[in-house]
Structures are given as C-alpha cells and as structure tokens.
C-alpha cells in the first residue's frame, strides 16, 4: 500500500514538474493564455504530491 502511494506521489510530482516546465516554455513563447492555466494547475498539483503518503 505504501509503495503504491509512494509511486502515485512520485508520478503526480513528476507530472506536475513537467507541466510546470512546459508552462514556462509556453509563457516564454508568448502563449500566456495557454500557459497560465497549465502553471496554476501544476502548482496546485504539487500540494497533494507533497501530502500523499
């Protein structure tokens, strides 16, 4: 169970981190309207990533 939760947390954190990088790339490319929701969701996703055990 713990291993499963750990894996889920790692997946969530990894996915959010990747989305974060993609968000900043979009922002730099001038696609701010696409970047903003992606960045917001990524930052929010990192909260449960830290909490899940």
């Amino acid at each position: 169970m713990n291993a499963f939760r750990s894996r889920r947390r790692a997946l969530l954190a990894g996915g959010a981190a990747l989305a974060l990088v993609a968000g900043y790339v979009l922002l730099a490319a001038g696609a701010g309207t696409a970047a903003a929701p992606l960045l917001v969701v990524s930052y929010l996703a990192l909260i449960p990533a830290a909490l899940l055990v």
Binding site: L27, A36, V40, I47, L51
Partner: protein, 724 residues
C-alpha cells in the same frame, strides 16, 4: 493497522468536511448576492486589467495572483470579465470561511461538547468572520490580492492543525513539507503569504521541537519553500513581452525576450528591487510613522467598523458598544481556547497575535485617513483607510468570537457537553443566544454590499471620452488612473488615448514604455458622437518623440534655479524655479514634441500650475485641456471662479456622453470617504457648467444642470458643500 491517536482527549472527533463545505457554499452565496458587477475604486481596476493582459501590477508584482486571475478570467462563469475576477475574490474568501469552520470545530472538540453543538459553534464562528465588514466588503470585489492570501493562510492553518494532532511519522513530515511549499507559493501572491510563518514556527517549537533538528526534513522543507517561490520567474519573462501594464518592468530586455538579457544582472537587480518593493522606500519599523498608541487606535477604529460599519456615523455609541462586545467575546473565546485545547491554541493564538499586534507594528502606518479628525493635517496621514490590511485579523477574530459565544451558550444553558438528554435539551432551549452572531450580517449588509455599483466603470468611460481622439491625458495615479486602465485594457474603450501617470513617470521604466508603446487606433463607431464631425488621422508615433537612448538619458531631476521660458505652439509660459523631476521633464518634452497636433489634457489643476501652464488651461467636462493660446479669445469659453470653461463642449459631454451621474444617483451612497474626490469631480464640473450656462443666458438649462448636481451631492453625502 489503525494509527495511534495523538489526541485521546478528542474522543470521537473527526473533521466535518461536509458541514464545512456547506458553510463555504452559504458564504459564497452571500458574496455572490452582494457581488460588484464591475470594477471599483482604488486597486481593483489595476489588478483586473493586469490579469487581463498578463501584466505586472505594482510591486511586488503578485505573479501567482496574475496567473490565477488570468485562468479564472477564462472560465465562463459570469458575463463580465471583472465579475469573473470578483468571483475569484468571493470564492477564495468563502473557501477560507469553510476552513475556519474546520479550525473552530477542532478547537471546540477540546471543549468536549457533543458534535451537533460543536457544529453550531463552528457555524457561528464562520458567520462572524465572514460578515465582518472588511472581510465581506473585500470579498465582493477584487480590490486587492488579499482574499487569495487569506486562503493561503487558512489552508496552511488547517494543515498545521492536522499536524498538531498527527503522531510523528512520514505523514506529519509530509504535512510540514506541504506547509513550506504553500508558504513560498503564497508569498508569490503577496508577502502576506508569510503571515502564518510565526504560528507555524511556534506550533513546531511547542509540539515537537526536535523536528528542527532533523536536517533531511529541514532541507526538504527549504527545497519546497524555494519551489513555491518559483512563480517569480513569471515577472522577467512577461516583462520582456512588454504588456501594457508592467509596473517595475523587471527585465533588461529592450526589444523582446532573449536568454542573454534575461540572465543579465540588470534583470536580477530589477526583479529583486520589484519583489522588495524598493520603489516605495518605506521607513524601517524602528522609525515609527505615528505613535504606537495611535497605530493601535487605527486598528481599533477599523475593528469598530467590523461589527457595524455605520458609514454615515448615525449610531457611533451603538457601534462602539458592539465593538466592545465582540472584543470581549473574542478575548473570552481565546481564554477558553487556552484553557480547553492548549495544543491548537498555540497555533491559532500566535496567528491572531501576528495578524493583529504583529501586523500593526510591522505595517507602521501613519494616522488613518478617517482617524482622529480633530487633528486634521497636523499629523501625517495615510492617503486612504487601511482596514483591508487587517482583513486577516478580523477574519481570524471570528474564530475566537465564535468560541466565546459557545462559552456563553454553555453558561446560559448551564450545561457542559450536551451529551445527556437533559443537557441536550438545555442547549437547544438556550440556542437563541447564538443569534447574536447574525448582528454583523444584518447591520453591515447596506455598507458591505457592492451589488449594482457601476460608477467606477462609468467614471472611466466619461474621463476617457472627455479627451479628443489620440489625445494625451496626464493623471495623478490611483482613482483617476486605474479605472482608465480597466476601461482600455479590459473593455477596449478609447485605447487611442495615451494615459500618462505623473506618479509613475518619475521611473525610468515608465518613460521607456511611453516611448515604446505603439499608438492604438481610434474607433469612431464606438467613440462619442461629439467627435464624429471630422476625420482623426492616426499619429505616426509616441507623443514623446525621443529615441530610447535619449529617453534613458533623462535625469532623475534637474534644478531649475531661475524661472524658465517654455514655448510650444502658441503657448509662451514661464516655468517657475523648482527641482524639476523626471516626470515634469518628460511632460514638458512631450508637450513640445506633440502639441498642438495632439490634444493634451490634465485630470487635475495642480500639475499644470506647477509647470506654469495654468493660463493655458480650459475645462472641457471632467478634463482640463491645454489650449493653444490664451483661452480668453476662444469661442464658447467663459471665465469662471476656477479658470476658463468650454461651455458647448462641456454641455455636450454632460448631456450626451457622461453616464457617471446616473450611476451615482442609482448607487445613492458613498461609503469610502477617501475616494469622495471622484464623485466630487461631477459636482464640480456640473456646478461650473451651470454657472457657464447662466452667464451665457441659458437659464432653464442652467437650472436643470444645477438640480442634477444637487441630487448627485445628496446621493453621495456631499450636500454640505452647498451650505444650508
């Protein structure tokens, strides 16, 4: 295997997430019913406009807020853009209320009362906090970023309450890492994101101090904090895209985003300066701006407002009495909290202390705008009332006031737990005592609600439409500026008008923006009919015809030791000796390079006076136009007590264009006295128009305008200016 209980005293306590959600929804409904339909005075327009263009509001730039706001603005949840951003404020505040419900319920678990009564007590605490005047009034329009900050404080608080009840182990460690992340993330919304930090520190020290010796956990927390701070990356990236609203412009890039200029030390310097709000150069806390007693007195004045705003000052005695009752309730609740649930007291008590006495000391305000009126200008004052800075204080006070009310409920009922049937009956019979929590909801409704208030939007339209196509409007800042940004950037109104803000022109970045920003076309079809009598050719460039290098070379100031002659078009003026600051140098340069081909206006008379241009000013409605020659010879103008008035143009604006007067009459109130100068503009302009019409023999029209001016003055409580 079930986890061992860390708090056996709590018995069968489990957080009532469902009840908290219902409380949050009810608070949200209240805020929606009283929500502003559009923008409002002060910073509301700046934030809404910055969110729309993905720009940077004033330092520290609030990058997380802009990202969240822009995302919210994309959601199809309300017809108007401003409404969607206002809903963000309402939602954050309502969610915070739901979390305070959980915190109050947890504290009441330490009281040992049965669950139904615990829920009633938590509901009471939520109601008091959510309907305190400033909390409510700031939740129904997005004037600041403070309701988002409130949500961060609330979420961190709930996580810490859970941590306090959690046994040592991986789960409690993860909570701390999440708290560190949220503290950093909250800071990128506003420095208020750190308000919970002292309470977090005290809770850790009291509950489990050895946590601080576990270096891996500390390192993980520090890394999470840094990760939370990364939204600041937004600032140099977006600044290099040159959005229309980019205060501070923290980038070294001059032509567009590039790696080299973004990594340049100048970008880092500008970013740090922006985050640290160096532009404002505030005094250190050791240099007090007012006696600490006066600063506490300011907080107390705002505390009095919370439970009965009484903006018209009709019942000051009742207002004070209610404030003492709520103060006593909160203090009593705090004492009960200390006695009955020491574990959560350490966190909540430190938080209440931080957002009250700690914040009073740190913010170090001058006298409040409305404070001690008998002292007049003898003391330095804040330009507006600062009650919103204590939103967290009044919101969290609701928790303790709720606990206090439950304590009184127990006394009245003569019961302690409500577990036995006889005690339960006594609790139920004495429950009307809780109705006291309804007082702020009932008495604050009129002043806290912003439903139907559209004046600020109309004011922005009216002021912009006072300016001829492609004109330049020179403003002071705040209420004569931010609403214009909203109208231009969010509603697309009169984007052809160049708005020059004197309080920003003193910065190098604002001058660069003035040179760089392209001219936007005038749309005659949507513009006022009074400008449809001719063609308006599009100017070829900025009103400040300077190269970027020349603009950068403008000094911060130059000393004008003797009066200097200034000529532009048919203007031949004398600039008095003074320290000529950058904003004035730029303004004179701009007039010289674009006048009279572009119409130039001022929003107030002080600035042209300082530049020696008063003799060349003619009022056209709400704006003061720089005239190409002495106005006495201009057709249609008449001299008035405060200068020349263009009667035909002002009449046309007043009757065919302006919508602000109707909005004021409909609103029929003006709660915030610090911004009364804006409705006063209509009273002033209308009064001068009536005088001008009278002088030119149009008596009946003059009477009609006079009557409307009086009605406006009555509506916003300015009738005293007409005398008895």
């Amino acid at each position: 295997m079930p986890r061992p209980s860390a708090a056996p005293v709590l018995g069968a306590y489990r957080p009532s997430y469902g009840a908290a959600a219902i409380a949050a929804v009810l608070v949200l409904l209240l805020y929606i019913v009283t929500l502003a339909p559009t923008t409002a005075m002060w910073d509301a327009s700046e934030y809404i406009a910055a969110v729309k263009v993905l720009g940077l509001p004033h330092p520290p730039g609030n990058p997380l807020f802009v990202l969240i706001g822009h995302t919210f603005g994309l959601l199809p949840i309300a017809p108007e853009y401003a409404q969607r951003i206002n809903l963000l404020a309402a939602l954050c505040s309502a969610l915070s209320a739901g979390i305070w419900f959980l915190v109050a319920e947890r504290a009441l678990a330490g009281f040992g009362i049965a669950r139904p009564f615990r829920l009633a007590g938590a509901a009471v605490a939520t109601l008091v906090g959510a309907t305190a005047f400033t909390v409510w009034n700031q939740s129904v329009v997005n004037e600041k970023v403070y309701t988002v900050a409130l949500l961060f404080v609330a979420v961190v608080s709930w996580l810490m309450i859970r941590w306090l009840d959690e046994p040592e182990g991986p789960r409690s460690d993860h909570i701390l890492v999440a708290v560190a992340y949220l503290l950093g993330l909250g800071y990128t919304n506003h420095p208020a994101g750190f308000l919970a930090l002292p309470a977090v520190g005290i809770a850790v020290l009291v509950r489990r101090p050895t946590t601080l010796l576990r270096w891996r956990l500390v390192a993980a927390g520090a890394a999470a904090l840094l990760l939370g701070l990364t939204p600041f990356i937004y600032e140099p990236i977006r600044a290099a895209h040159f959005p229309r609203i980019s205060l501070g412009e923290p980038t070294a890039c001059t032509t567009g985003l590039a790696l080299e200029c973004t990594l340049d030390p100048v970008t880092a310097d500008r970013l740090v300066s922006n985050i640290n709000r160096e532009q404002y150069g505030k005094n250190p806390v050791t240099v007090r701006q007012a006696p600490i007693g006066a600063q506490i007195g300011m907080w107390w004045m705002y505390f009095e407002w919370q439970w009965l705003r009484d903006a018209d000052g009709n019942v000051p005695g009742l207002q004070r009495a209610l404030a003492f009752v709520f103060l006593a309730l909160g203090l009593y609740g705090g004492v009960l909290h200390w006695q009955r649930d020491r574990r959560t007291f350490w966190y909540v008590g430190t938080l209440v202390f931080t957002v009250t006495l700690g914040l009073i000391y740190y913010l170090n305000f001058k006298y409040g705008f409305s404070q001690a009126p008998e002292l007049g200008d003898a003391v330095p004052r804040e330009v507006r009332d600062r009650d919103y800075f204590y939103l967290w204080s009044f919101s969290t006070w609701g928790i303790w006031a709720g606990l206090g009310l439950v304590g009184i409920w127990q006394l009245v009922a003569g019961a302690t737990t409500g577990a036995a049937p006889a005690e339960r009956r006594r609790f139920v019979l004495s429950s009307p005592v809780l109705a006291f929590a309804l007082v702020p909801l009932i008495v604050n409704w009129g002043d806290a609600s912003r439903a139907g208030e559209t004046f600020t939007r109309e004011w922005a339209h009216d002021l912009l439409n006072s300016v001829e196509p492609y004109g330049v409007l020179i403003t002071n800042g705040d209420n004569d500026t931010f609403p214009l940004w909203y109208a231009q950037e969010v509603e697309g109104v009169r984007q052809d008008v160049t708005v020059l803000v004197t309080s920003l022109l003193g910065t190098d970045w604002n001058v660069r923006q003035l040179v760089r920003n392209p001219v936007r076309p005038y749309d005659a079809a949507t513009g006022p009919s009074i400008y449809r009598d001719r063609e308006w050719p599009t100017p070829t460039g900025s009103p400040l015809a300077l190269s970027m290098e020349a603009a950068e070379a403008i000094p911060d100031y130059t000393e004008l030791r003797e009066a200097a002659r200034f000529r532009a078009g048919n203007i031949d003026a004398i600039v008095p000796p003074q320290l000529l600051t950058r904003d004035k140098i730029v303004t004179l340069q701009m007039i010289r390079s674009s006048f009279p081909s572009r119409a130039i206006y001022f929003s107030a008379s002080v600035y042209p006076e300082e530049l020696g241009l008063s003799d060349y000013i003619v009022r056209q409605g709400l704006a003061l136009r720089l005239w190409n020659g002495l106005p006495s010879s201009a057709p249609g103008t008449v001299p008035t007590a405060t200068g020349h008035l263009d009667v035909p143009r002002t009449l046309a604006l007043w009757t065919d264009v302006y919508r602000g007067p109707e909005a004021l009459l409909e609103q029929d109130d003006w709660v915030d006295r610090a911004s009364i100068s804006i409705p006063l503009q209509y009273v002033f302009a209308g009064g001068l128009l009536a005088e001008g019409l009278d002088r030119t023999g149009r008596d009946s029209l003059a009477t009609e305008v006079s009557q409307k001016v009086r009605a406006i003055a009555d509506a916003v409580d300015l009738s005293e200016i007409f005398g008895p």
